[in-house]
């Protein structure tokens, strides 16, 4: 069963095509991640689904209601955390929560159990002005405020951007809990490591979805044979590789060079080892590895750019 159905959605601003032929479904109780760089169209999509922006064309149905006709009813059923900071910095933590509950004509007490795992962490700061909270704390409060009316669908536009890795992990733990209440979550992020925690992912690139699938399937569909090389001369090697004529794709990944071969892999690997030796590159290890999602996205984005250039 799907709670959001989007078909052939298009949106442009003057001459700029922000979204092109977007189609997808959000299933009940799933966490659906939208990943893409700034400017890919993520916020435009969220604004449309939150009924704040009208699409140029396409069909959008949310909980069986039509976006254009029933937008007022839809608003009561969704919780929306916009990409730009949405709380009032000059109100306290508790005042913000009360304000959002009042706006949705919802009581705090009856829904407190649901937000408790998050709210518990905020209680020591409940009388602090929101402007004085750290980034991670602000986002937790924003999540409470988006949940306080017990929505069926939660729309989270980059809830963890600029938040440190530990707070980000805590935030995703909370999303898993929210999911267990049967709430469906649509969440966007620029961080590749986070999307492994989604049930399904869509990769948004210049206003188009270039893939929609589960994380394991995306990894399975990786086209190349991926190798990792550990060297202390990483950036020197990258410069050398600019002149390397082989059908391969390479990029740094932490302390490693990731290199993917596409044709005649065995021979290509031998030629690559020769190349390393000829250029006297010292390396500790060089072996085939299973790609992670970031490798897959890099491959997909590169392929997509080659097609469109």
């Amino acid at each position: 069963m799907s709670v959001i159905q989007v078909q052939n959605l298009n949106k442009s601003y003057n001459n700029l095509q922000a979204l092109t032929e977007i189609s997808f479904e959000l299933h009940k109780g799933e966490i659906f991640g939208i990943i893409g760089p700034d400017g890919a169209g993520k916020s435009t999509l969220f604004n449309i689904l939150a009924t704040l922006l009208a699409p140029d064309s396409g069909d959008v149905s949310i909980l069986g209601m039509d976006l254009n006709r029933d937008y007022k009813k839809i608003r009561k059923e969704i919780g929306y955390l916009p990409g730009t900071f949405s709380l009032y910095p000059d109100l306290t933590v508790l005042e913000n929560l009360k304000f959002f509950a009042a706006m949705y004509q919802s009581g705090i007490r009856e829904n407190l159990t649901m937000i408790m795992p998050i709210w518990r962490q905020l209680i020591p700061f409940k009388n602090r002005l929101v402007g004085k909270l750290s980034g991670g704390m602000k986002q937790k409060l924003a999540l409470c405020c988006a949940l306080i009316h017990k929505p069926h669908i939660l729309l989270l536009d980059e809830p963890t951007t600029g938040v440190d890795p530990v707070s980000r992990r805590e935030f995703w733990d909370l999303l898993a809990q929210i999911k267990s209440y049967g709430i469906s979550v649509l969440v966007s992020t620029p961080y590749m490591d986070e999307v492994t925690r989604c049930d399904r992912i869509a990769l948004l690139e210049k206003g188009r979805f270039i893939v929609i699938d589960t994380p394991p399937q995306i990894i399975k569909d990786y086209k190349g044979k991926l190798y990792a090389l550990k060297t202390t001369q990483l950036f020197y090697l990258l410069e050398l590789l600019d002149q390397y004529e082989e059908n391969c794709s390479f990029y740094p990944y932490g302390e490693y060079l990731h290199i993917s071969f596409y044709q005649d892999v065995e021979q290509a690997v031998i030629r690559f080892r020769d190349f390393l030796n000829q250029n006297q590159i010292n390396y500790n290890s060089f072996q085939e590895i299973t790609p992670i999602l970031e490798d897959c996205f890099i491959e997909l984005i590169k392929k997509n750019r080659d097609v469109h250039h």
């Binding site: 760089p37 890795p165 530990v166 590749m192 950036f235 590169k302």
Partner: protein, 239 residues
């Protein structure tokens, strides 16, 4: 030779200690990663190093100048870019670079040559008259970095320069960082991407105002008995 020397730097706001007695040095041409959780005191420390905020106590020499008495000279010797503010949207690429170059008093006869040098390197010469509002974020961030280098600063402070850019551009950005460092520019960078921490020659981790740890990524992992920078980070930041 050190371009950044920080001694017992402390900043208090009322009863709250944002930066607590931190000391470290950064060498010329080094890429130094400044890591820490939100609210750990990184921004406050960076503001002091850029001469924008006076310390409560402690001293620092930045590019050879004293933090307390020579902050004007410091500002001339450093470059700065952040994700939040980089370039003016309603100016063209070339106008932005000319503006910043002029503010930093790059000699007129050299400015044009330097700008064109950077634009050629970035493959953006043919876009030089385009408004910055119309260009992709990835270009913007690379341009902002080049712009921060126009006046040949000794140190560039980069505050989350790669937030929100795609994984390919993120890596292209790091190639630019390496080129600048190879030419002797000291790079002082904050990031929330842990794989990027591995690209730094040395990193430090701040938590609750303290500088908890400093060293090369490999050293620190061995010292703390962990396999990844991510684990290292989690260890110090876990509350």
């Amino acid at each position: 030779m050190y371009t950044i020397e920080v001694h017992n730097l402390t900043k208090r706001f009322g009863s709250f200690t944002a930066v607590n007695n931190i000391s470290f040095q950064v060498k010329r041409g080094e890429i130094f990663g400044f890591l820490g959780a939100n609210g750990a005191g990184k921004t406050t420390a960076m503001k002091m190093m850029c001469g924008l905020l006076l310390p409560t106590s402690g001293t620092a020499r930045i590019a050879g100048y004293d933090l307390k008495t020579e902050s004007k000279q410091i500002k001339k010797e450093i470059g700065y870019m952040s994700q939040r503010f980089s370039l003016y949207d309603d100016l063209t690429i070339k106008e932005n670079m000319t503006l910043f170059g002029t503010i930093y008093k790059v000699p007129k006869q050299e400015l044009n040559e330097r700008i064109e040098g950077h634009l050629t390197e970035l493959n953006l010469m043919k876009h030089k008259d385009q408004l910055v509002s119309s260009i992709p974020l990835g270009w913007k961030q690379k341009l902002a970095f080049s712009t921060a280098l126009l006046h040949h600063p000794k140190i560039v402070f980069l505050d989350e320069p790669t937030s929100g850019v795609d994984p390919i551009v993120r890596r292209e950005f790091w190639s630019l960082i390496y080129k600048a460092a190879a030419q002797g520019v000291t790079i002082f960078i904050t990031t929330h991407y842990m794989d990027e921490a591995s690209y730094c020659e040395r990193i430090s981790i701040m938590a609750e105002g303290d500088l908890k740890l400093i060293g090369t990524p490999t050293e620190l992992k061995i010292q703390m008995g962990v396999n990844t920078i991510d684990e290292l980070f989690t260890h110090f930041v876990n509350r």
